[in-house]
């Protein structure tokens, strides 16, 4: 029961009662933490690795032992600059580090080094597309503003042992470099939030600055949700945490919007609090351990001078290249972003934008498609149908990526060539596809010969079969002669059955029509 710009109308369940309920405008903002892909941590030389023995990837600095100092990792700076450039941000040539203080067992220093005053990148934008009405036929492009991107440290991991009333702390993750991407509250529902995050994920993976796998905690999303009536000021917002996948993000945001609307319509108020998403129950619950509004007592990090970045103009001469990060140099080496890849696909192959979307969205599918197109004479517009409906549906059913497909791009190209040359019909091709999927190592040609699926090329043989069908079906023949042309399809079907799919339907139709007009 809230108004969503992209669906273009008030999604109230009861249109008749719209006088009673004023529309609600939900406002959704996101804070995304992406773990930087690097060998070592942001301020220390310990390794970054998922799932290692507890506390084995921890240096003295990470454990916050006295007498240790932070030393900035160059790779993390480059990753942040790449991401900032990809999101159309202004890169701050001088950025500063600060300390954010709060107490928690997995933050041994008692503070986190972050960039609160002057972050490394500000004022960018992210464009994303989503389908209207759940059909892939119509896509609309939206933009969300990026407030800033900052470098900060990750905290360790806490394992809560409620049985023994204790918390076990593993500091392997403490000190790993994070990029925090703060998005302005320009979104209005779970679907928009999910689409924006998916696009960001693709961008980060293309750049290589983060692998952004939510399941491994490399991409963490917190949503800020509030609702208000149009024309009135923004409502009180709540923060939703513990969202572990993009699907859950949609659910969590939509649930929270509904919860707030219900609360306000029942005369209650929305409390500014932090809530956790419970994926089993599909709802948000207040988080324990949050003591009102936190005062983080930000102060400048005294051990780190300002981070200075250069571009081609400001690059000093006679400088040690290892000590310098050149924004222009990084800009020149940015790979093609997903939006550029999609545009190129549409231009090169003449496919529809929504098709390019799926190709780029699914891991490895674009490369597969391009491989097949290279090896076959079939037009890309026809190939895409095979890729998106036949191949993709099979892959999804078995939870495989394109790289894991039992049918390689070679085999599929061979099959499509047989079809294109008129050696088999399209229904036969589908049969061959199913056989190939079993992955028994046979080529399409072998399967066709084995199952005798070749199209009957002999005109006389076809005419004989057609004649046989005509002789059998007097009733249908009468109907056609009387003017009911559609009945011919039934005869075509019968011929197809008689030939076990080995007749070219167009040719059959021609022969039948000729015979019936005699």
């Amino acid at each position: 029961m809230f108004s969503c710009q992209h669906s273009g109308f008030l999604c109230t369940t009861d249109h008749l009662n719209k006088v009673i309920l004023a529309p609600w405008v939900p406002v959704v903002g996101l804070e995304i933490h992406a773990q930087i892909t690097s060998n070592s941590k942001l301020f220390s030389g310990s390794q970054v690795q998922f799932a290692a023995p507890p506390n084995s990837l921890v240096s003295f600095f990470d454990a916050s032992l006295p007498g240790t100092l932070p030393v900035l990792n160059r790779r993390c700076v480059e990753a942040a600059v790449m991401t900032g450039l990809a999101l159309n941000c202004t890169i701050n040539k001088k950025s500063l580090f600060d300390r954010k203080h709060y107490f928690y067992a997995d933050l041994p220093a008692g503070y986190q080094i972050t960039q609160q005053r002057v972050p490394i990148a500000v004022n960018g934008s992210l464009s994303y597309s989503l389908c209207i009405d759940n059909k892939m036929s119509q896509m609309v492009t939206k933009t969300v503003r990026i407030k800033q991107i900052q470098l900060e440290q990750d905290s360790g991991k806490s394992l809560h042992d409620d049985a023994r009333s204790q918390t076990l702390v593993d500091l392997n993750r403490a000190g790993v470099g994070l990029m925090e991407v703060v998005m302005e509250p320009d979104m209005c529902c779970g679907e928009e939030a999910a689409a924006a995050v998916r696009e960001l994920q693709l961008i980060l993976q293309t750049l290589g600055s983060s692998q952004a796998i939510m399941a491994e905690g490399q991409l963490r999303v917190d949503a800020n949700v509030s609702v208000h009536h149009p024309g009135e000021p923004y409502g009180v917002r709540t923060e939703v945490k513990n969202i572990n996948s993009i699907r859950f993000l949609t659910k969590a945001v939509d649930y929270e919007i509904q919860r707030q609307i219900k609360e306000l319509e029942n005369g209650g108020t929305v409390v500014n609090e932090t809530r956790a998403f419970d994926s089993k129950l599909g709802c948000t619950v207040p988080m324990r351990d949050k003591e009102g509004k936190q005062d983080y007592r930000f102060m400048p990090e005294p051990n780190l001078p300002p981070l200075i970045l250069y571009d081609a103009k400001s690059l000093p001469a006679n400088v040690n290249h290892q000590q310098v990060v050149n924004i222009d140099w990084i800009h020149e080496r940015l790979p093609d972003l997903p939006s550029v890849k999609r545009a190129k696909l549409v231009e090169l192959y003449g496919i529809l934008p929504e098709h390019s979307f799926t190709l780029v969205n699914e891991d490895g599918l674009m490369e597969f498609f391009e491989d097949v197109v290279k090896r076959t004479q079939m037009k890309p517009k026809k190939v895409i149908g095979w890729i998106l409906s036949d191949l993709l549906s099979h892959l999804k059913q078995h939870s495989l990526t394109a790289n894991e497909s039992p049918i390689s791009s070679f085999l599929l190209a061979d099959l499509l060539n047989l079809l294109e040359n008129g050696d088999i019909s399209s229904s036969a091709a589908k049969q061959v596809f199913e056989e190939l999927w079993k992955g028994e190592g046979k080529t399409p040609l072998e399967i066709v010969k084995e199952k005798q699926l070749e199209l009957i090329q002999d005109q006389e043989e076809l005419e004989q079969i057609c004649q046989a069908v005509i002789d059998e079906r007097e009733k249908e023949v009468m109907a056609i002669k009387e003017g009911n042309k559609k009945v011919i399809n039934k005869l075509i079907g019968l011929v197809r059955k008689a030939t076990r799919g080995r007749a070219n339907p167009l040719l059959v139709k021609q022969i039948l029509e000729k015979k019936l007009s005699e």
Binding site: S56, R117, R288, D289, P300, N303, L304
Partner: protein, 187 residues
């Protein structure tokens, strides 16, 4: 940590708190006398105002002698700003213990000392927050050079479970003022 280092550490933290508190006082002064003492610490902006802070050595506050050179209304303001509420808030945030009147007086002295800086006209001057500002920030190559010292790190832990550190379940917030055993209750 040696007792001397612990003392220094404590003073550094108090100085950091002073800067934070000074930020609150500056804002209070800007808002005008009426709003002065009620400027809630939680509204303190993190920007530390247009004051060029002279880097302080870690000098214990009670060693500062001599007149403070401030006019009496400001002096009174200072006394007002370090209220029981502020001290309780500080204790909760930083888990320091002011312990007795001398501790609070030390804080007041520190604030008074820092306030002297307001006599300097810093119109249009960029704030200095680190003497390292002209230094080059060294960038390290992305190589793995540390880690793998689990046993050494766990040596200091009082309790451990299979190479994990053990901590209490979640944060235990400081009890409310009424329920605490602190001298602040008396003031």
């Amino acid at each position: 940590m040696t007792p001397r280092n612990r003392f220094r550490w404590r003073v550094m933290r108090v100085l950091a708190l002073c800067r934070w508190l000074r930020g609150g006082t500056v804002r209070a002064l800007r808002l005008g006398a009426a709003a002065a003492s009620s400027a809630p610490p939680s509204q303190v902006r993190q920007r530390l105002g247009p004051c060029r802070a002279v880097p302080c050595r870690a000098v214990p506050c009670h060693a500062i002698r001599g007149g403070n050179g401030l006019s009496s209304p400001v002096c009174a303001l200072l006394q007002d700003s370090v209220t029981v509420e502020v001290l309780d808030h500080l204790e909760r945030l930083a888990l320091v213990d002011f312990r007795d009147a001398e501790g609070v007086e030390r804080l007041r002295e520190a604030v008074r000392f820092a306030e002297r800086l307001r006599e300097v006209n810093t119109e249009g001057i960029e704030p200095l927050d680190s003497v390292l500002e002209d230094r080059c920030l060294y960038l390290r190559e992305d190589d793995v050079t540390e880690g793998n010292c689990t046993a050494e790190l766990l040596k200091n832990a009082r309790e451990k479970v299979e190479e994990y550190f053990v901590a209490p379940p979640g944060n235990i917030p400081l009890p409310e003022l009424e329920e605490r055993d602190t001298f602040l209750k008396g003031s």
